[in-house]
Symmetry: D2
Subunit: 319 residues, 4 copies
């Protein structure tokens, strides 16, 4: 059983990644650390707690981390994720207390306490990870694996033509993390190819009539509206964070993984947050990032259905 810390800017699909990880027996979620990203920080914290509550996992501590990127300015993506980051409807407050301690410090302390045992599942901007590394330069040796949802490999970005949201928000942190850690990367492109829920999938989900199915519909509503091309098109949504969580939990979903040198552009301007992936090996950079290039999308769909219908994502993959 993998021990996992989820670093998340909890809004929309982050919630499904948290649910999946909490409800799977393949991984143990040791803690959540919250990072500035999608929506106002306090909403992210509240979203994370609400999600843990739904997962009956309120024993998982929630640590508040960086409230802003390492260096750069940014604005929230509330137009996509809705006011509360769960899709426009305000959920009730949980009254759960945040755990004492700063997110990046907790990452360091927990990895020091169990060297080589903790895997980081990073589904937001990488500020907290960069701050943890600033405190503990040996962190790359102390972690087990580092999974990152981010970047756009030879495809249009989702913030600018050149960049995906998580890497764009804090490109300085991202550059640091890709340089220092052996990352496994799930980029926006593979999510678009292999982790999209469109009308047929939503119709299936609508038949489940469960709390999780209803929650799923609620948190994806805003993204679907954003991707809709008119009033009679219900729209689609990619599930980048949950597919990353699924790929971590279920190795059988990884259809193709290649190892390349990956570099992130940390400069302001046209290419802020751009992901350079040296597929042809023409640069001097060491190939040390494992890029997931293809996902078993049927199996992923099956995992999600099992999660939403029976709170048991593991039953979605064959024994």
């Amino acid at each position: 059983m993998r021990r996992v810390i989820i670093d998340t800017d909890t809004a929309g699909d982050d919630t499904q990644a948290i649910l999946l990880s909490c409800l799977s027996d393949r991984v143990t979620v040791e803690a959540l650390t919250i990072v500035a990203g999608n929506v106002p920080f306090e909403r992210e914290v509240e979203n994370a707690k609400y999600t843990l509550d739904i997962a009956d996992s309120l024993d998982v501590p929630v640590y508040e981390g960086a409230r802003q990127p390492l260096l750069k300015e940014f604005e929230h993506a509330t137009d996509i994720h809705g006011e509360d980051g769960l899709g426009g409807d305000l959920f009730p407050e949980t009254d759960v207390e945040s755990a004492a301690g700063f997110g990046p410090d907790e990452i360091v302390d927990r990895c020091r306490a169990a060297p080589g045992e903790i895997t980081l599942l990073c589904i937001g901007p990488l500020t907290n990870i960069a701050l943890a590394y600033a405190r503990e330069p040996d962190l790359p040796e102390l972690v087990d694996e580092v999974w990152v949802m981010g970047g756009n490999i030879n495809c249009e970005g989702n913030v600018t033509p050149a960049a995906e949201f998580n890497l764009w928000v804090d490109p300085d942190a991202a550059r640091r993390v890709f340089d220092a850690f052996e990352v496994t990367l799930v980029d926006w492109g593979v999510c678009l190819r292999d982790a999209v829920f469109d009308s047929p999938e939503f119709e299936t989900v609508s038949t489940f009539d469960t709390e999780l199915a209803s929650f799923f519909e609620s948190v994806t509503e805003q993204a679907r509206a954003f991707n809709s091309e008119g009033s009679d098109d219900p729209g689609w949504t990619a599930l980048p964070d949950s597919v990353t969580a699924a790929l971590l939990a279920y190795p059988e979903l990884r259809e193709a993984v290649s190892t390349y040198h990956v570099a992130v552009d940390d400069r302001e301007g046209l290419t802020r947050g751009y992901t350079s992936v040296d597929i042809n090996g023409v640069t001097d950079g060491e190939p040390n990032t494992h890029v997931v290039e293809s996902v078993d999308s049927d199996a992923f769909q099956s995992v999600m259905y099992s999660l939403l219908q029976s709170r048991d994502p593991d039953s979605g993959v064959a024994e």
Copy 2:
């Protein structure tokens, strides 16, 4: 009949673009202007003259232009194109004189003399065009169309992961040209998708037994060797310059053309020469570049066969 100036760093596939344009009745080649690029400048000039000789077009004047990029340093790509840029075998010298005058000046003078009548076919780095614009700020209004082979749209570059050769060599010039002119762009990606000659095509060409077929085999030999994956793989080659010439001459080859804002990164570093194409319209940039997104590859093949077999590219397209 379109009046065309071809701006070229003549080596390899540039020769086929020149041949096609000279031998087609759809366009009149008014002049060649040579720009620093693929191989040493003097070789480019000689290659251009040799190609005109083969096309029986020595009446077309060859003007020497910029011998180096506007600002940046670069090295020649002689490892791909061979010592003489035609594929490793040295062709005899032509003893043709270059025309008097500096390439960019000629572009300006000819466009001033025939406002709205001259189209620029740019199949090398854009240094000459930027220099012409520096001399004549009204050049964008004086030209007819500006066709550019360059850039890599949401695909791996062929020099660095981020950049294609022509834009990488002189990104300052490229940025200037895309900002100031209404460019029609043929990028490296569409060439890889729709303008590749592989073993079957080369087998066909080998049956032609013509001077042009033999010349074609000769000039593509080095590129095929570069793209070969072993001694028993004869390799393939893309034909970016000739497909650009063909698209200009034959509108019927243009299957899909969209207009986007395109910006080129002129900074040194990771993204030198990167092409940002705002497909989703998320930036403030005005959409003023016409991007050829799909080519009728069968028709292009047919044009090339007609060119190589019977010196009559026009017969490759239906009446």
Copy 3:
């Protein structure tokens, strides 16, 4: 009495700033935080403890902070400061333990515990301060004052033509600190003008025959050798860190202080760490950095003599 945390890359002149602050009754040193800079980190930590020992101030806790800049690579300046950063002679180990806790965390915790009471005396690269700010965005309101030795205002830098060491080493942190905090700045230029010890001063110090005088000669030996122009020139040294400590402790030394907008260049390249100071008010930047433009150099000399001769820097300034 001002409560002060000294953030230091302890080597050479940092030691005198620590001594002066510990031995003055004008300020109370609450803690030292160590930051990557001049010499290998472990040596800096040891140097700081050795200096506290000499000052009979081993009750001041030493917290270890960032072992590397926020983002950029750098090399140590051991050629100037000697192997141990005190001037080439290795001092005995102190066997003092570092205090538990990460330097930047301590800065945050202590400022939270005493809002508006703690002044930061920053005489190394600004990594720790930027990390503290990353953890606590309200830190600028929680501190009293922030004194920084760094930058070169309209004068040659001491690392590159454009930059001074402290800002050059971690320009990302520096930019962040100048943007977020109301800094009082002592730059390399004012140190060269008003805080240099040359042969006459060293001759005076050599007559004192005290432990501190001997320590001073030892820690400045390497810098003097670096600034010597030949074997018969004993060389000079600037005292940037001690003059900053003195300016903080003794307002009477501040001859001219102006408030300008200051910005630091965080980009790699020619101007990494450059200090832009908008003296003429031509930019939009808010003037919020207090620049010490002139120091009472006689009084500073007097303070240093009193420190070195009688361990009583306060007696160097008139009642």
Copy 4:
């Protein structure tokens, strides 16, 4: 007698540099080339012709050059130089025709025709020189000397804190010129130290009662107003262009000249146009720029008085 081409964005002090050069027997002005800079291009051209008229030098051809910087955007400095660049009063049109040919082409052609004989006196942005170099990469060997007024060495700039006008306007061209040519540099700092006319000098000039004195008062009026600190302060002006012309004509004015590596920052942002001068020799850059560090300001004043009083600048320097 030195043969000189003056490259100028004629406004204000450019006129005095032209007058001085035309009326001195030490130099022969072969041509003026006009470059985009201080004021609208057409005004610069007209200003240049008007000045030649006053100098009885209408035989000197005026070539129009670059109407915009190589790559960057900029705005005119009409607030300093007045609407017509001569200080607010509109002078009559001259009806002189511009010579046929593009400025940069003329520079190339004239230098090719007389290798090693022509000196360039550059008192505007360096666009024309960079364009000439783009056409003729051997230009650095074909010119005699290249004198440049520009940059600010370890002093506040006059456009931004980091940059002087001429280098700021076209930093790309400036970088190219300093990299490729062996420049002799007169920076803004030495002009402020040694080439300022303040109230006493203007009082002297006001006693001359000559056409040139009146013209001088007229062209400096706007700059004086800009530098005035109130209604009863008539203000001062630096004479950067005329002191550069004087230094070229009269070697006896050069009190101190050192050779350093100089690099110009061509990036947008904080340090656009910054002049890095490696006085301490800490970079790898080859020292190949001759920096005038001190001027005989009394002799310069004397030259200017002789120019303005008797149209004979040469009589201002001792035989």
